[in-house]
């Protein structure tokens, strides 16, 4: 069976997970281990007027009770946002100070105020109960619109009116003109609901300090251990980079929430030095709800204009983005460059203008969650298109077709240059697979059963493979977004791939092995992948933004190019042939047209024995590459959802779901389909089930799985997945990326289907039975009056 590109290879990593031998951070136990439990603010906004630690310090097993003044006193730096965004007047964003342990003011429920280190978890918990913090409550604001009102509580001194930035993109005058000339204008207010990422493994950290070497080791649940080390070192002053090793072992899901470096990891490292003990902390689920960066939370008002023929003439967007109480690591980029640069969708729109205000509130920080800005853009554009079609009495698919971009490369008015795509082809493929032609009959049949059946489209596009470095640098990114790889061919011919990408469910150990095995004609078992350890892999940017395929695997290809060049030289020298005549196939290095060959491992051995190498050649067979792409990649597709609504109760069931995605080259279709399944479930979750709720005092009301509705097996259908393929010209494998598409493309398809079923376009997420039923009653009223 083939194990190369395009083969459905079963995952190499599964055995340890199915037998209980996965090794996650909380499974790590080290000598001299103590436990940390955090004391957190129960108030959303309060002055800290005193901390009495005496009772806790006297309790059994307690090693230390540490607070923010001690932390800042030791020179530990504030948390930072790594992407600088400027307001439209040119002024820099107003970053509020965020200490890992709050010193004077707590700004959200869950803000860490002190930490207890004790011999056991239970002792640490008991002692945390006994820490008495005196608070002086301050007024609270939790929504972005209220935070901007005059007289709203002020959260940071340096951000007047709670405004972090007032950013714009596009040409406002042109968009206004386009709208003024329009024959029809669709206007909508759209709320993109606040979500909690909820990887099933809660965040965890084990910090180990070696006083003799003044060296730190941190096991942590990270999607990007090297970035963690860089930030912990360069900005938080925990330790110099060469004295800090960060290991992200098996990580149980990320979805964005594990990109950031949180107060807990910083505190554990510092506390391990302070106490001379290894310090472990693991969040419980309610702590995760309270402290993991949330996603989305936009309020948007938008207008889209169309001419007589349904061509878009202008698009104007006004968005308030809730940033929470502090700026998380990439929180400025998510609602700006990752969002508004995709307002053109799949459509040829000449005139676009977007304004985004980033606003502080007394809630947990908001940052990238699967899709990060792109789901918000897709939801907006695709809700506008569907609604406009209905308002104009057009077929929603036809309206999209009239506006599709048809030739590439295409420069949008909002920065992006789309390099390749087949938007009409995706739509055709989805319509066929979903049997759209048969929908009227299915709707009629459902009506006989008393159900309202609806169909909704979503033609999403996203920018993935977050890169290139120079481009993101010019837009304010504090880091380069290339990737590194090292290919180590051992003397016996087996291969280790060291990658800066990090797998937390994506199956890199299998997929990455496939491209290596195919390239050199080796059994896939002879390839292993090393990742997630800063001592082993030199540097890397990690996994997020669907970048492991397009950027991470491209780096591996570049390193394999170098290995191959050296292999050719060695073989040509040993076999006394011309380099140009050397071919590599089926694990052998051959001279074309002859029977002369070396087996792959013989080349490896020749490189390491170095008895007979070309003059001047260094021994060994190990190559490194850093790959920096030329452009983002642009996965795109068409999703079609069908739902049935029970008009008596508003209970809605997704009965059919079809995805036609164009991800470019696919290495392992099984794994790619799995990514779409999972993304689609999260999209259904956002559309119908999930939503973070704070009350007006800033108390988090959705703090457990009893109140935050996660998609369960009976909330979702089987998914039908189709693949279109236009090769991405920007990277050597032609890969676009697939990790986020499901979460981006699904919500608009679902809401478009429900609104189609109930005949009311005014429906916000999550479309719970109550909301659907209420919207249905509102839609029924005018009809009853007729």
């Amino acid at each position: 069976m083939s194990t190369g590109i395009g083969a459905r290879v079963k995952r190499k990593e599964d055995k340890r997970f199915t037998t209980g031998q996965g090794r996650y951070t909380d499974d790590v136990r080290v000598d001299n281990q103590a436990y940390a439990v955090f004391v957190r603010s129960p108030h959303a906004h309060a002055k800290i007027t005193g901390i009495d630690k005496s009772e806790a310090e006297a309790m059994d097993g307690v090693i230390a009770v540490l607070d923010g003044h001690q932390l800042t006193g030791d020179g530990i730096g504030n948390l930072i946002c790594g992407w600088a965004v400027s307001s439209k007047d040119g002024s820099p964003m107003n970053m509020g100070a965020w200490s890992a342990l709050a010193t004077d003011t707590a700004r959200y429920v869950g803000d860490a105020v002190a930490v207890v280190i004790a011999d056991s978890r239970q002792e640490a918990r008991d002692a945390a109960e006994a820490v008495v913090v005196d608070y002086e409550e301050l007024p609270v604001v939790v929504t972005s619109d209220k935070a901007l009102e005059s007289g709203a509580p002020q959260i940071h001194d340096n951000a007047a009116g709670n405004l972090c930035f007032d950013w714009e993109i596009g040409d406002e005058a042109a968009a206004d003109k386009g709208l003024a000339e329009a024959a029809h204008v669709t206007q909508m207010r759209i709320v993109n609901n606040r979500l909690s990422p909820n990887p099933m493994e809660p965040r965890s950290a084990v910090a180990i300090y070696d006083s003799a070497e003044e060296h730190y080791t941190l096991y942590t649940t990270s999607q990007n251990p090297h970035v963690a080390r860089l930030v912990l070192s360069a900005f938080y002053n925990v330790a110099p980079e060469h004295k800090l090793r960060v290991i992200a072992p098996d990580v149980g899901g990320g979805f964005g929430a594990k990109i950031y470096i949180y107060p807990e990891e910083i505190t554990c490292l510092w506390a391990s030095m302070k106490t001379g003990r290894s310090v472990k902390w693991t969040a419980d689920r309610s702590e995760a709800f309270m402290t993991d960066a949330h996603g989305r939370d936009h309020i948007t008002n938008a207008r889209m204009g169309f001419d007589q023929n349904g061509k878009i003439t202008g698009f104007k967007v006004d968005t308030l983005a809730n940033l929470g109480a502090y700026m998380s690591l990439f929180s400025s980029a998510t609602p700006t460059y990752l969002y508004a640069t995709l307002l053109s969708g799949q459509y040829d729109i000449a005139n676009i203008y977007g304004n985004v205000k980033g606003v502080y509130t007394n809630t947990v920080p908001v940052d990238a969650y699967r899709g990060a800005g792109r789901p918000e853009a897709s939801f907006l554009v695709e809700r506008m298109m569907e609604t406009a079609a209905r308002e104009m009495g057009m077929d929603p698919a036809e309206l999209r077709r009239r506006n599709f971009i048809g030739s590439f490369p295409h420069q949008t008015p909002v920065i992006m240059t789309y390099d390749a795509g087949d938007f009409a082809g995706n739509l055709d493929m989805a319509q066929k697979a979903a049997d759209v032609a048969g929908f009227p009959a299915r709707r009629a049949e459902a009506a006989q059963r008393g159900k309202l059946r609806g169909l909704g489209y979503s033609c999403y596009i996203e920018a993935c493979g977050i890169a290139p470095s120079a481009a993101v640098g010019s837009l304010g990114a504090g880091v380069g977004l290339w990737e590194s790889a090292e290919v180590r061919v051992n003397p016996v011919g087996t291969i280790e791939i060291l990658t800066g990408s990090h797998s937390h469910g994506q199956g890199h150990e299998t997929t990455f092995s496939q491209i290596v095995a195919e390239r050199f004609g080796l059994p896939i078992e002879n390839v292993s992948i090393v990742h997630g350890d800063t001592d082993k892999v030199q540097f890397g940017m990690g996994t997020y933004g669907s970048r492991s395929g397009a950027v991470g695997m491209s780096a591996i290809v570049k390193a394999m190019d170098k290995v191959e060049a050296k292999v050719r030289k060695i073989a040509a020298h040993v076999l006394e042939a011309s380099e140009d005549d050397i071919v590599i196939e089926n694990g052998a290095v051959k001279v074309a047209g002859t029977d002369k060959q070396m087996l792959w491992h013989e080349v490896g051995l020749a490189a390491y024995t170095a008895h007979n190498l070309p003059a001047g050649m260094e021994p060994g067979l190990k190559e490194t590459a850093f790959y920096d792409p030329v452009n983002f990649t642009f996965p795109a597709g068409c999703y079609i959802a069908e739902v049935e609504v029970d008009p008596e109760t508003g209970v809605t069931k997704v009965v059919q779901f079809t995805a036609a995605d164009d991800f470019g080259t696919i290495i392992n279709p099984m794994i790619v389909e799995g990514q779409v399944h999972g993304g689609a479930a999260q999209g259904i979750g956002q559309a119908m089930l999930e939503g973070v709720v704070y009350d007006q005092d800033g108390q988090l009301l959705t703090g457990s799985y009893m109140d935050y509705c996660m998609p369960r097996a009976d909330d979702v259908p089987f998914y039908t997945i189709e693949h279109n393929k236009t090769v991405c010209p920007g990277n050597p494998l032609g890969i676009k990326g697939c990790g986020e598409a499901g979460a981006i493309g699904t919500p608009p398809a679902i809401i478009n289907a429900i609104t189609d079923a109930i005949g009311n376009n005014d429906l916000q997420m999550p479309a719970t039975p109550l909301k659907v039923w209420t919207a249905l009653q509102a839609a029924a009223k005018p009809m009853a009056a007729e």
């Binding site: 079963k10 995952r11 990593e13 599964d14 055995k15 340890r16 997970f17 199915t18 037998t19 209980g20 031998q21 996965g22 090794r23 996650y24 909380d26 499974d27 136990r29 239970q122 909820n198 990887p199 099933m200 493994e201 809660p202 098996d250 990580v251 149980g252 899901g253 979805f255 419980d284 689920r285 309610s286 937390h504 469910g505 994506q506 199956g507 099984m670 794994i671 389909e673 799995g674 779409v676 399944h677 999972g678 993304g679 689609a680 479930a681 999260q682 457990s704 799985y705 009893m706 996660m710 998609p711 369960r712 097996a713 009976d714 979702v716 089987f718 998914y719 499901g742």
Partner: protein
């Protein structure tokens, strides 16, 4: 402190533990069987499912001291030596896992549901599998391949049950 003795994965074990020790902590911290996971604190997510006397339970909501003399099976104890349990094989065959964190609980729940349905002579339909997974949350797979894996394992286990008759 109470001395707790039980049989875990076929082996007799005995430990002195505080009375408030949960079964999951007994397994993870005392026995270092870390395949059983904790994903929530409200008995919702199912990452901690193990079998006690042949029935699945959530080990995060059971005191170890209440299980004196019980037979406990964890994810580490279901393979027959090097031969994996059909449910483990099916999860690999059908790509029923991604990050792997919920997987031990899913597999233990899957085995229990197949056993119960077969014992009762009931058909384990797709709808029934989804219903039975109510207490297990997965954030990665969208459940598609988990349902397929349990269905496939059920066929396999039913074949084995018949062959044994």
């Amino acid at each position: 402190m109470t001395k707790v003795s039980m049989k875990v994965n076929g082996k007799a074990v005995s430990r002195d533990v505080p009375d408030n020790t949960l079964l999951v902590d007994f397994l993870r911290e005392q026995l270092r069987l870390t395949g059983t996971h904790v994903g929530c604190d409200t008995t919702q997510c199912g990452a901690c499912v193990v079998h006690v006397n042949g029935k699945s339970i959530k080990s995060c909501t059971q005191l170890a001291v209440s299980l004196a003399g019980a037979e406990v099976t964890t994810i580490e104890g279901i393979a027959n030596g090097a031969d994996l349990h059909p449910m483990q094989v099916a999860f690999n065959d059908h790509h029923g896992l991604q990050c792997g964190f919920c997987t031990p609980g899913m597999i233990m729940t899957g085995i229990d549901m197949v056993n119960r349905y077969q014992a009762q002579g009931r058909e384990l339909t797709e709808e029934a599998i989804r219903f039975e997974l109510e207490g297990n949350i997965c954030r990665c797979t969208g459940y598609h391949n988990i349902v397929k894996a349990i269905d496939a394992a059920a066929q396999q286990m039913s074949g084995m049950a018949k062959a044994a008759e």
